[in-house]
């Protein structure tokens, strides 16, 4: 093929300079075009990652220039603090509860949106808003909605008579309520992504499978649980993996709503790493805390690889 192209060029009388020769050498061109991107990723993702590993076994702080090796001291001292233990527990509660809700609600919403109805484009736009709008700004909207004095939720529930005259919950001031609020906002933010991913999966199921199930007399529930849901499994896994990664490693919602409070009851590993490493200046301990997120990322990466490989075979 290469030879044919070269010959064609000679026949057409195009100038065969050394540069054009290089431009045709695809075994060089490929790495040349790919190189800059890979180099950049190595420098700005790979290098800092190894730096993080190194910091976690050093005594580096923001102020000092010392970089002494201290072994696993940071990890052992971090693990013993109650702050870390509650943060670890909170991270799991926050991520797992919110992602179960996202998965269930995402399936319900995707099924509802699969049907055609008037104004569907507008509904889709509105439902996508929380995902597209900058997270920190959307979360400020919630901060106003759950305000301790002017909460519109409390006002409405009292006006409807559901809350008595003495009930006025401080949504972000009481431990369990604060966790519930933070989870709700995280669900609000990630539900659109899961929904559109599942919707893409729904529309890729061939029409005749549904027709065959209807022909066999399957009712709505049976149809859903025995036909649709199994076919949606791979795509639901993708939605779940993204949701878990974006929840385990994110601190924006928590930083804006509670800063980890009250009494660290909504503190998660990501926000603890920020408060220790950046706000507190203890880079080494901060790096050690954030490295606890790594096993989870590894698991998610393996999950994605399996999904990608399976879809390659099919």
């Amino acid at each position: 093929m290469e030879a044919v192209k070269g010959e064609a060029r000679v026949l057409l009388g195009a100038p065969a300079t050394r540069f054009s020769y290089l431009r045709d050498r695809e075994e060089w061109l490929g790495p040349l075009m790919l190189g800059p991107a890979i180099l950049y990723i190595i420098l700005v993702v790979g290098f800092p990652f190894f730096l993080a590993l190194y910091y976690s076994v050093s005594d580096i702080t923001l102020g000092s220039r010392s970089l002494g090796f201290v072994g696993l001291k940071n990890f052992t001292s971090v693990i013993q603090t109650t702050k870390f233990k509650t943060s670890l527990q909170n991270t799991f509660v926050f991520a797992i509860v919110s992602q179960i809700l996202v998965l269930v609600l995402g399936n319900v919403l995707a099924l509802a949106l699969q049907k055609d109805f008037r104004g569907k484009w507008l509904v889709r736009l509105l439902i996508l808003l929380p995902w597209v709008a900058p997270i920190s700004l959307g979360t400020i909207g919630w901060l106003w909605i759950v305000d301790s004095i002017y909460s519109v939720i409390n006002w409405t529930l009292r006006a409807l008579g559901i809350f008595g005259p003495k009930t006025w919950p401080i949504w972000l001031g009481v431990p369990h309520l604060a966790m519930g609020t933070v989870i709700t906002v995280q669900v609000w933010r990630l539900l659109p992504l899961a929904t559109v991913i599942i919707l893409a999966g729904l529309s890729s199921i061939p029409r005749d499978i549904h027709d065959a199930a209807a022909m066999d007399g399957a009712g709505f529930w049976r149809h859903y649980f025995q036909v649709t849901m199994p076919l949606l499994l791979p795509v639901s896994m993708v939605a779940l993996l993204f949701g878990l990664v974006f929840t385990f490693t994110d601190m924006t919602v928590i930083y804006v709503l509670t800063r980890g409070g009250p009494y660290d009851t909504t503190q998660v590993l990501a926000s603890l790493a920020f408060f220790t490493g950046v706000a507190g200046g203890d880079l080494a301990e901060g790096a050690a805390i954030s490295l606890f997120l790594f096993p989870l990322l590894l698991a998610a990466a393996i999950g994605f690889l399996r999904i990608a490989r399976r879809s390659e075979v099919v």
Partner: protein
Amino acid sequence: MATLYRMKRWLADGAHFGIVAAFTTFAAFPFYWMLITTFKRTTDLMNRTHNPFLFHEPPTLEHVRVLFYDTLYGRWLANTALVGVLVVAITLVLAVPAGYALARLTGRWGERLGIGIFLTYLVPPTLLFIPLFRVVVGLNLQDTLWSLVLVYPSFTVPFSTWLLMGFFKAIPSDLEDAAMIDGYSRLGAFAKIVMPISIAGILTVVIFSFTLVMQEFVYALTFISPASQYTVSVGVPTFLVHGDVYFWGSLMAGCFIASVPIAIVYNFFVDRFIAGFTVGAVK
């Protein structure tokens, strides 16, 4: 029998409408609330006997005026736009050739390398911000927008490369083969034949990268401290919140203005992003 069927049908339609309405309200209510709050007078907002859904005093543009004249909001918007444009440019320069190379030139390795690059998108800021903070300080870039320009492509390039790889793969390679037989080099065929018909894919990457820049919070919060150098997503939550007194009207105006327009543009490209997100699990 017919009435029973009709009733069942009616119930199903009602349930469908109820579900869609409930979810839409949940998703959109905070933005609706921002919009209402923007135009309400502070005395109206701060009166607990007032029904918060109604205007008890005439609407006002005072909060928007305060936002643009008495705060750095305009500056933050400009900062965000500047960082966004630069990051988009860097992303295109790195990701377009890389995506093409992965789609056409690297053979069996391309697929694996592509997935490897995609996976780096999952490495979160919260794992890298501490070492990168030190690097940024070392390069003397702390408290400048350049620190963000340097670091933001780390999450736009991997996903953009992945999206573009899928996009270029969908173009029949006969097109370039024909062009090359006509005397174009591989690079020439890419620039003159493939690029023009890939405008939609490139535009997708532009929108995606720009939105990610607008959303980024952790790096900007870490690298920058002077108010004048912030982007919108960090400036509003940190500097418009004055201790315990919140200027809710201006705060909500700031959130609404920076959220909704970009969301409407993004909406046109969603299906393409999702095709990228599903890693081939959807055919």
